[in-house]
Subunit: 448 residues, 2 copies
């Protein structure tokens, strides 16, 4: 391309080709327009946004990043703000409020219709990671005594206000969830059939207080486009749609991956995070791990006599510590991810230990043989080869055991298993590796 889309838009704007710009925006998907707007310089954004046709503006707004949303709201007149807010779904408005600073929140609430404001306040009361905070209250509910043709009429009437119409929920007069019916079934059914006769009466739902990760897992298990959310009295209060579930899954995977690398969770994106915030999310664990590594150093000091006698011993420290750390992080990672995707269940404690033990026997034997041979060839010292090989066997078995047990223990103590990931495991394993190594060396080499 000779010129980027961004440049084209700038040129059109400079030349005041507003009609052309409006046509381009109308032709684009709102998610793409939003992504484009997020990249605009601050001064350009409000100008461009005002070019959007009214019915598209709130869709694009909902897709934008919170920084850009804040910037826009600050520039909006109250009338403009109200126009955008009126078209936003309740769950998007609640998300928006959660991201904005206090003074912006006040303006948003002041420009929201009272009825909608009450609903938003309800949603905001749910804990941050719960199904309640994720749900939308705009869904289609039907009554069991309705006929199919009545149901379809009702759907046509409420269609514009709801995020998904493809699953409808059947409730009694007290809003208790009785079952669900897909639009597909409705379209296939005879017009005079009763909803109660053709609905699915296996009620699969989540509670407002359920963790959002479990909600996403449940939706993926059942391949649902949406899942109903009920309160403590089993009354339908909202639904969670699949697009939110996908976001939750991505965010949880990102959080787990970061935790596994000893980085504190941070919801902002890489480039939006300030240097100090970047440093803050990393320094805590670095410090903890650095000071714990000093313990390993202390253990080494205790064997000063040994390595003063045989200085060669020191040069094997990186390899032995490294192998221990790698084995530990392999088994801890497998166990942590296995638990996250429910492949490994809490009852599998001893089953996992037994698997890891057998695997560690295989691994340690192979690694010890290869390394023993290498040392025998390179140094022609059978005793040294024996010491290193035996150390590898001990270290590999020990690290695989620690690597699988600690995350499962963390889970039992209701901590996130991912805190027991590679870096912490490595530090613990390091100390144990040194102990195993120098003990074997001292006993076999008659030193120290």
């Amino acid at each position: 391309m000779a010129i980027t889309l961004q440049e084209l838009l700038n040129r059109l704007r400079e030349n005041r080709r507003y009609a052309a710009l409006r046509d381009i925006f109308t032709a684009m998907n709102e998610a793409d327009t939003a992504a484009l707007f997020d990249e605009l310089p601050e001064a350009e954004l409000p100008v461009m946004f005002r070019l959007l046709p009214k019915d598209l503006a709130s869709d694009v707004f909902a897709h934008m990043e919170s920084d850009s949303q804040e910037l826009l709201i600050k520039g909006f007149s109250d009338a403009e703000l109200k126009e955008v807010l009126d078209e936003l779904y309740v769950d998007d408005t609640a998300d928006l409020i959660e991201e904005m600073p206090a003074n912006v929140v006040k303006r948003i609430l002041a420009n929201t219709e009272p009825e909608k404001r009450n609903v938003i306040n309800e949603i905001l009361k749910y804990p941050e990671d719960s199904a309640g905070s994720l749900m939308t209250i705009e869904y289609i509910s039907l009554r069991p005594k309705m006929s199919v043709s009545e149901a379809i009429k009702r759907i046509r009437r409420t269609i514009t206000d709801t995020e998904t119409i493809y699953t409808c929920y059947v409730t009694d007069d007290n809003r208790h969830l009785l079952g669900y019916i897909s639009l597909r079934t409705l379209l296939l059914a005879k017009p005079d059939s009763l909803i109660s006769d053709i609905m699915e009466d296996t009620v699969i739902c989540v509670h407002t207080s359920d963790d959002k990760e479990d909600v996403a897992k449940k939706m993926s298990h059942y391949s649902f486009v949406a899942i109903p959310v009920v309160d403590a009295e089993n009354r339908l209060v909202g639904i969670v749609t699949f697009d939110d579930a996908i976001d939750v899954m991505q965010d949880e995977a990102t959080e787990d991956i970061k935790m596994m690398a000893a980085i504190a969770p941070n919801e902002e994106s890489y480039f939006k995070t300030s240097d100090f915030k970047h440093a803050r999310t990393r320094i805590v664990w670095l410090l903890i791990l650095m000071l714990s590594a000093a313990i390993t150093g202390g253990i080494i000091s205790g064997y000063e006599a040994s390595f003063s006698a045989v200085p060669m011993l020191v040069s094997f420290i990186p390899m032995l510590m490294g192998t221990g750390g790698n084995c530990g992080s392999q088994s801890s990672t497998l166990v942590i991810r296995g638990m996250a995707i429910d492949e490994i269940k809490p009852g599998d404690f001893f089953k996992v230990i037994w698997v890891e033990f057998r695997v560690s026997l295989l691994l340690s034997t192979a690694l010890a043989l290869i390394n023993g041979l290498r040392i025998l060839i390179m140094y022609r010292d059978p005793m040294l080869a024996l010491v290193i090989s035996l150390s590898i066997v001990g270290i590999v078995i020990m690290s695989e055991m620690i690597g699988c047990i600690l995350p499962m223990l963390a889970k039992r103590l209701h901590c996130d298993p991912a805190v027991m990931a590679a870096p912490l495991i490595t530090t613990i394993v390091d100390a144990c590796s040194i102990l195993i190594y120098f003990n074997i060396a001292c006993h076999l080499m008659v030193i120290g």
Copy 2:
């Protein structure tokens, strides 16, 4: 619970309460029945499966794990196999064939209708990780000149054969994709409107050869329930539905997490993997990393004179190597995940390096100060404190740089950046850390 669901089912079966069992299965969601069946002992599975009502059997079958599917197929008569296969969606059948051993595949193809067999063969020709291998060919296509009422009639007619009816695709006579229209829009529109007037004509689609990870990302970006797949001539050949996209995202996250811990990819679940396979997925990297660690050992040997003179130096090796490794794995993890979720784009090479450099300045200053102070208090040796603090500064900056540059280089060389994750980075950083440390020590302490 006094008795588990599994136990209840066993009891009912032993007492031959087949009607009750059938009622239970009918009341359950097929995904749950499948999960339950996967846990059954081999001998029980075929008996239980035959109790399923015919119309439910293939739905449950599609949800089961491949081991159980294989077991069932081997026990099926040809008539039974045909009955299940006839009801399976084409993409589920293709998935099944990919998982089964050759002799089972032969029986499956022999019992599939010729027309369906041709389609399956087409799907199987696409590369394993492509959109083509993921798609289903059962979708609803409309013509631009149809009226809304004709379209709805057509949807009602084809509804049972298609996986999703909520987005319909508009094609010309040569199957070129012209646009799409949601069922929602159709239900809202006047019956005599023309499809071409009300359809969305922004065509957002993927190509058969696109990587399935990109397909999932695109669907999540647009919050699509389904995305159309076109061939090289821009003809519509299938669609990918959101449930497959969710699976792809989960699998990719799992694969990345495993790679980051130096474990080779393996599609089987934790407990289904044999000990030898477990060992095989781990040993290659362990060996590579172990032998590279020997290089670090070699470097240490070169400084034997230094630590013979000041044995205390050895005890700081774990802390310095550990800190370097942790810094390197933090920045590599952030960069790898950032690239995986498109927060960091290929053009951001120098931008990332600049961020990491500034962050590493902050981190190294903090860590060096804290550690210098600790050593000053514990050992009352200002020179030792200076050597360690300076080493930390050098090591932290060096590791953060290596940690962010290597994954981005890998991406540029079209390798998976995740191979440059923690374990490899750690091994490279270890060697550099030792060099920095002993060089500073030799210069300042006038030893060696």
